[in-house]
């Protein structure tokens, strides 16, 4: 029953706040939500010991839909428990940060309710015992994300981003639902444990349906985790307020990775391979865009897309430890970076253009320190967390023997290191511009930042030392030269970026100019508009003005015809259109014809 609490507490909190939160003060709303998320975290943590003794813990709550296996039930193993703990822990700290950051905001009832709902949804995705519960959690999280991104309703760009997110989310949902239902028709159950069993038995190589289902599930995962070509919503969603961005980039975006990990043995091997390659390409491409972007928030969003791409590589290759480690480490690290960047942005008068702001030096000591640790952890400088994840993924790709994938991962790691250091240097160390940081009280914000930064610093070491039970992975057996090479690949561009941007060298300006092409998402945004949105609108217009009008006119014509016919038959009675008479007559003829025909 402890397991049920992990999901139920945030869900109950979301509902309670939505219904009764109107009476609570702003601060109380935030505190209640934070406490609920901490409780969920605590309930999860209390199960660590139980899971040492047995492989899984299951909780059956009630029956649900009239489909085989579709009950309200949860299941967890130690691997997924670690993910769930990361999700609830990070979101608790984000909620804590929101109390300070949004202290003057209106509509906090809506905000905290949606935040809780999003976390509950993602926990359901992680812990639900069957695919339909995963779908349910997925869609709840999507709806909550829509509300959160649209939180500042007067902000037009956020409204556009919210609409875009809503639609892309629905594409992912539809693909996920369709894939799930195809699996049901094939395997007659939606229960994940049974599905894995059946799929293993059949070798998951039978027929076309599992392949189509796998492709659909992959599309769903791509949409949820903002992977190419369904990545566009995440950079745009940074228009939302900072804690929302942080929540999307740490918690919501992991949905696809979690799905891939949980469906590892159900999906067809070729599709998993495709997931790895798409992840590698996305990771590299998005890191390049991150190098070119000038808006702090978008740099971080593209970096998130890139990092999640690396998780896709790991999950696709079956390096589940690497994927899990990267997911957890990234959640902590990216929370530090997005929240830290938000604090800085707030302090500098909502200026998010890196070139116009310039470095603010060490004025915001705590923020800068946390952000620095976050950057080290992101790009993968040991002993911070990132390196272990990156090393595990590189060695997984390498031991898979896929040269292309290994190269993509290394390129992505290098580009992302450059982008990460560039961001830090431009934000804190570069020559200052006109905008100066103001001093505003931000105690709660700094508390959560420091806690998160500590997590980012200690997590890798704790796992390596075996303190956290999330397993061990290929990095432990990787050859030392590969680790060394990875470290070199991280270090070289980091140093280059630091030297270039700290002092504003001309070489850095040249790189800035050279990378300008990457800013529009490598042109994919424009391509998407031209290849999908425009044709859809054209089809809709064509149907509206063509088929619909033709149909309307045809029926109108028939009506007039009937009117005239009845006038002819009724002689003078023009007043009423006796269509029924005409058709009754026709019907009688048909009836007679039918009788004579059937009598023969």
């Amino acid at each position: 029953m402890t397991l049920a609490l992990v999901v139920a507490v945030p869900l109950a909190n979301a509902i309670a706040i939505a219904l009764l939160g109107g009476r609570l003060g702003r601060r109380t709303l935030g505190i209640v939500t934070t406490v609920a998320l901490v409780l969920s975290f605590g309930a999860g943590a209390s199960m660590i010991a139980t899971l040492r003794d047995r492989p899984t813990v299951d909780a059956f709550i009630a029956t649900w839909l009239p489909l085989p296996g579709a009950d309200l039930a949860l299941t967890v193993d130690s691997a997924m428990l670690a993910v769930a703990l990361a999700l609830s822990g990070v979101s608790a700290l984000i909620a804590l940060y929101s109390i300070g950051y949004l202290a003057r905001d209106r509509g906090l009832q809506r905000y905290f309710s949606a935040l809780s709902l999003l976390v509950a949804g993602m926990l359901l995705v992680t812990l639900g015992a069957n695919l339909l519960l995963v779908v349910a959690g997925w869609e709840l999280a999507g709806a909550a994300a829509y509300l959160l991104v649209g939180h500042h309703r007067e902000h037009t760009a956020a409204a556009a981003a919210a609409s875009q997110l809503f639609v892309i989310d629905r594409i992912g949902d539809a693909a996920l639902v369709a894939g799930t239902l195809l699996l049901v028709t094939e395997f007659h159950t939606v229960d994940l444990a049974q599905l894995s069993g059946v799929a293993l038995e059949h070798g998951s190589t039978i027929g076309g349906a599992p392949v189509i289902a796998s492709v659909l599930l992959l599309i769903g995962a791509l949409a949820k985790s903002a992977q190419a070509p369904l990545h566009g919503w995440l950079p745009d969603a940074t228009e939302a307020t900072t804690p929302v961005s942080a929540l999307l980039q740490t918690v919501a975006v992991t949905g696809g990775v979690v799905l891939l990990m949980r469906l590892r043995s159900v999906l067809v091997p070729d599709v998993l391979q495709a997931a790895a390659i798409i992840g590698g390409l996305t990771a590299f491409g998005a890191a390049l865009v991150a190098v070119g972007e000038r808006d702090v928030r978008r740099v971080l969003a593209w970096s998130t897309i890139s990092q999640v791409g690396l998780m896709f590589v790991a999950a696709g290759l079956g390096a589940l430890f690497a994927a899990r480690f990267q997911l957890i480490a990234h959640a902590v690290v990216k929370a530090v970076l997005v929240l830290g960047a938000g604090s800085v942005r707030r302090a500098t008068g909502d200026e998010s253009d890196l070139a116009r702001r310039g470095g603010i030096g060490w004025r915001m000591r705590w923020t800068a320190g946390a952000f620095g640790i976050g950057t080290l952890a992101l790009i993968g400088i040991p002993p911070a967390a990132g390196f272990f994840g990156i090393a595990a993924i590189v060695s997984a790709a390498f031991s898979d023997g896929d040269a292309l994938l290994t190269a993509l991962v290394l390129l992505a790691v290098a580009a992302s290191a450059f982008a990460g250091v560039r961001l830090f240097a431009l934000m804190f160390a570069a020559p200052p511009a006109a905008v100066r940081a103001t001093d505003a009280p931000r105690r709660l914000q700094d508390v959560s930042l420091v806690l998160l930064a500590f997590g980012a610093l200690a997590f890798g070491a704790a796992v390596s030392a075996g303190l956290l039970p999330i397993g061990s992975g290929p990095a432990d057996e990787a050859p030392v030269w590969l680790l060394g090479a990875t470290f070199a690949v991280v270090l070289a561009p980091s140093i280059a970026a630091w030297l270039g941007y700290r002092h504003g060298l001309p070489a850095a300006a040249r790189i800035e100019r050279a990378m300008r092409w990457a800013r529009g998402g490598l042109g994919l945004d424009a391509l998407y508009a031209r290849a999908v949105a425009d044709p859809f609108r054209a089809v809709a217009r064509e149907l509206d003005e063509g088929a619909e009008r033709a149909n309307d006119r045809a029926v109108g014509g028939l009506g007039t015809l009937a009117h005239r016919a009845s006038n002819v038959m009724g002689g003078v009675s023009r007043a009423s259109a006796r269509a029924e008479q005409a058709f009754l007559l026709a019907g009688a003829v048909v009836l007679l014809a039918f009788w004579t025909w059937s009598a023969r």
Partner: protein, 468 residues
């Protein structure tokens, strides 16, 4: 017991014609609630339900006044009771209230008649009788385009009815009975099954409406006063769903099986078509009309599949769609009162009317079928049934909610987001109470969809026995 659901609104209709002033609206609300309450109580206690043969009303033909209900009709009677009560409650400040509520109750009587008839001729009488009060309500209380809309509706529905009557006579006169139960025992030749199914379906396709027989939908939704739009989309379309499931499928099993590919194609295409057209509309009533067309054709997919999952999904989705349409129409009307037109207005209403916005978001989520709302279980069952029969149909059908989401997100964005609007108050308590009650019902169905399935199973034959 069964007759009560017909008699209550009939009595109210007569009472409303008397000079009782503003009591008419109260009576109309009560009659809806009372009907729903009677059905709920009867189902709960397990009384009533069986067919009641009163007397032969056209003895030489073999027609009877036979009434009764089964799971599906009980569910539909509940829905119609709730929606007629909601519609009457939303009819405040209407002109000529006595005539309006008399017609309103007559409409309710006829609808109840459709759901309880156990004899084809009686069914036809109720099925066509409901057009009279409906047309008069449209004609007398509708908006600017009401004359053309009424004419269009009448022409299309009567065309279908004429063909239906032809079919009923052809079947019943030959068999010397019009009783559902007896006719279901007959095994007609395959060719006549197809022909008769086509004749019957022509009426039900108009009424659903099944693509491409939807030319009346947009006009009627625009012209109809909000309460009439609620029952039009929420209840009247469901009479056709019910009729296909309860009459066409058991009477013409082989004919329907032969027609199934074509019907499925029409319904799937229609669902996508309606959803795409909804994205083009700039009038909330037309958005609701086309989104509703899409949802109803999706329900039709479930019925045409005629598998247990498809039928159960269609039943749950019918109820959900009825509630969601009612909520959307009420919210659309509330919106129009604030903006001054049914267009999307200048935007930014979210800042002024957060409650209206929250309810609107919930309604759209229900329309799309996000889990936790009533839209999800029905839609999921229908899609699952579709995938089991044909993955192609399933794939196309699963695009429908995506496209509806495009129009839903578009409406929300245009109306509620943007720089804060100058005017516009939030929902008052009266407007709020009605919508919140309906949303609460929708959420209950979303969380416990088995309640509907159990209700359907409690009375009459299980859904799976519809088609032997």
């Amino acid at each position: 017991m069964v007759q009560v659901v017909v008699l209550i609104p009939l009595v109210v209709a007569v009472a409303c014609a008397l000079p009782i002033g503003s009591l008419a609206r109260v009576l109309a609300v009560l009659s809806g609630l009372l009907t729903a309450g009677c059905v709920a109580a009867a189902v709960w206690l397990g009384v009533g339900g069986g067919p009641v043969d009163l007397y032969y009303w056209a003895a030489p033909l073999g027609a009877q006044l036979a009434v009764g209900w089964d799971g599906w009709s009980a569910a539909m009677l509940l829905l119609s009771g709730v929606l007629f009560a909601a519609g009457a409650a939303a009819s405040g400040g209407i002109v000529r209230p006595r005539a309006y509520f008399a017609l309103w109750s007559l409409l309710q009587t006829a609808v109840a008649g459709v759901f309880v008839s156990r004899d084809l001729l009686l069914f036809f009488a109720a099925h066509d009788a409901l057009l009279v009060p409906l047309a008069l309500l449209l004609w007398g209380w509708g908006g600017a385009d009401r004359r053309a809309a009424t004419r269009r509706l009448a022409v299309m529905w009567l065309t279908g009815s004429a063909l239906l009557l032809t079919g009923i006579l052809a079947l019943g006169v030959g068999a010397h009975t019009f009783s559902f139960a007896t006719l279901a025992g007959y095994r007609l030749a395959e060719a006549s099954q197809v022909l008769l199914a086509l004749l019957f379906l022509s009426a039900f396709a108009m009424r659903l409406p099944l693509f491409p027989f939807h030319a009346w939908v947009a006009r009627t939704y625009v012209a109809a006063p909000a309460p009439v739009a609620i029952v039009l989309g929420g209840v009247l379309s469901k009479t056709a769903v019910y009729a296909i499931a309860r009459i066409c499928l058991p009477l013409f099993p082989r004919g329907m099986a032969d027609l199934e590919p074509y019907l499925l194609a029409l319904a799937t295409v229609g669902a996508l078509y309606g959803a795409i057209l909804a994205t083009r509309q700039r009038d909330t009533r037309r958005v609701i009309a086309y989104a509703s067309l899409a949802e109803i054709d999706l329900i039709a997919v479930g019925v045409f599949l005629a598998t247990p999952g498809g039928l159960e999904g269609a039943l749950i989705a019918s109820i959900s769609h009825g509630l969601v349409v009612a909520i959307l129409v009420l919210l659309g009307a509330a919106l129009a009162r604030r903006i001054g037109s049914f267009g999307f207005g200048p935007g930014g209403l979210g800042a002024r009317a957060p409650v209206l916005m929250a309810l609107f978001v919930l309604a759209i989520l229900g329309l799309i079928g996000v889990p936790g709302t009533s839209g999800a279980p029905g839609q999921l069952s229908i899609l699952a049934a579709a995938f089991a029969v044909s993955p192609g149909i399933g794939l196309i059908a699963s695009l429908v909610p995506v496209v509806i989401a495009v129009s839903g997100a578009g409406v929300l964005r245009a109306v509620f987001f943007g720089p804060p609007a100058v005017g516009g108050l939030d929902l008052g308590w009266r407007e709020r109470g009605l919508v919140v009650a309906l949303i609460a019902l929708a959420v209950v169905i979303g969380v416990v969809p088995r309640s509907v399935g159990d209700l359907a199973g409690r009375t009459g034959p299980a859904l799976s026995e519809l088609r032997q």
